[in-house]
Assembly symmetry: C2
Homo-oligomer: 222 residues x 2
DNA sequence: CGAGCGATTGAAAAGACTCAACCACCGTGG
DNA sequence: CCACGGTGGTTGAGTCTTTTCAATCGCTCG
């Protein structure tokens, strides 16, 4: 597979933490692919050949835990770079990545990525810094998962998703939502009902709209 | 604070994943300090000035979650390098580090560490690889914490501690153990009782001996 | 129109936590 | 030498949360 050279520019933005350009539907990238909902980007056990830059769409990264129950580790959105942890670790993927909606991604080969890294020592430092920061964040997240109640975690996940969906309606299956929170689907549904009763969210079909973000954030604490 | 130059050698071993030398009580290091149980190495909120190489002893890294309840994120032992995530992220510590027993550590300043990193591009790659691997591991750990029952997690923690304590008796307060598992102290004690009844562990005072490691590992699954 | 999947509900059971009391050990000071 | 107080460990009982299982509903697709 070939890399999309114009996307290396996007990566540059990614690492420089400059304001991310809105993904460019206008000037198409030659090696980008358009994926449909449920399309798989990579699977646990396979060996990473590169990274993926997400132009638009939503991707879930998950793994199978006890009795095959899915646990969503992270959700990626437009502007994110997907799959570089596994690639840099030089191990096989330990997670799966699947699109949650129509998604445009661009593949960048390991070789190109590495060349890019080598081209600029500052970028390399930025990468190290980014990985370290992520590890710090993971400590926080772990504490939350271990200590917060399912209700608090549900509120947490909704807050996170609110950002990922760019303040628009959250559009996820109940099962995916439950797998992100780490609970049973039925429990999740009951909690959504509660939040709705308390006028914190609004539900229409599978779509969830946050109507009172402040109150939702309170729910993550107590 | 000055760095212990002879310890940079240890770090070299650390990153090269060569067999780690037993920590050298014979030839003392000038800038190492000997810490007592409960001594604090660093605290959440302070800014990292360097990293710590652990010659001997056990250190818990934890943070405070809901209502101040402590969550142990990780336990470090002899041969580990402590605190480089926060240092590399260039943010304040988001965790505390405290000795669980008499511990000998050596401080290496950020400057020296960075110089060392710059001295060898291979080391830098090794660092990137290490951080990435750790992030992968964290995904697994998160899944376990989110999905496994307290009993399974307790078994997990005991398996991990068994290694950390070098196959010897585990010597931790019940509260620390509970904070590692992420449960209430009382619950933990009841589970230990069960494991003892099933002849998986043996308890004498606060010390825990694993008598049937295979069976313990089974407990982590079902 | 019927199959099938996702969403929802109810009821019962299991798991875990909280609170309160009690025990056991240990060092201190009388 | 012993009573005392304190800390950490243990136990019991009751309660709340969360899961599980079973059944129903509603919608979409062929």
């Amino acid at each position: 597979m070939n890399s999309c050279s114009s996307c290396l520019l996007e990566i540059d933005h990614f690492f420089n933490e400059k304001e991310r350009k809105e993904s460019s539907q206008d000037n198409p990238h030659p090696f980008c692919s358009s994926l449909a909902r449920y399309d798989v980007i990579f699977s646990e056990g396979s060996y990473p050949k590169g990274v993926f830059y997400i132009h638009s769409g939503i991707v879930k990264v998950y793994k199978h835990g006890i009795q095959g129950k899915e646990q969503i580790i992270q959700i990626f959105k437009s502007g994110d770079l997907l799959g570089f942890r596994a690639m840099l670790s030089e191990k096989n993927y330990n997670v799966h990545a699947q699109c949650l909606e129509q998604t445009d991604i661009c593949f960048i080969s390991k070789k190109d990525f590495m060349t890019y890294l080598d081209s600029n020592p500052l970028i390399r430092n930025e990468l190290i810094r980014g990985l370290s920061m992520e590890l710090q964040d993971r400590a926080d997240y772990l504490t939350d998962m271990a200590q917060k109640s399912v209700k608090q975690r549900t509120a947490m996940s909704l807050v996170i998703l609110h950002e990922i969906y760019n303040e628009k309606e959250i559009n996820l299956s109940r099962e995916d939502l439950a797998n992100l929170v780490g609970t049973a689907t039925e429990t999740l549904i009951r909690l959504l009902k509660e939040f709705k009763k308390d006028a914190i969210i609004d539900v229409s079909g599978r779509k969830i709209k946050i109507v009172n973000l402040e109150k939702l954030k309170e729910q993550t604490l107590a």
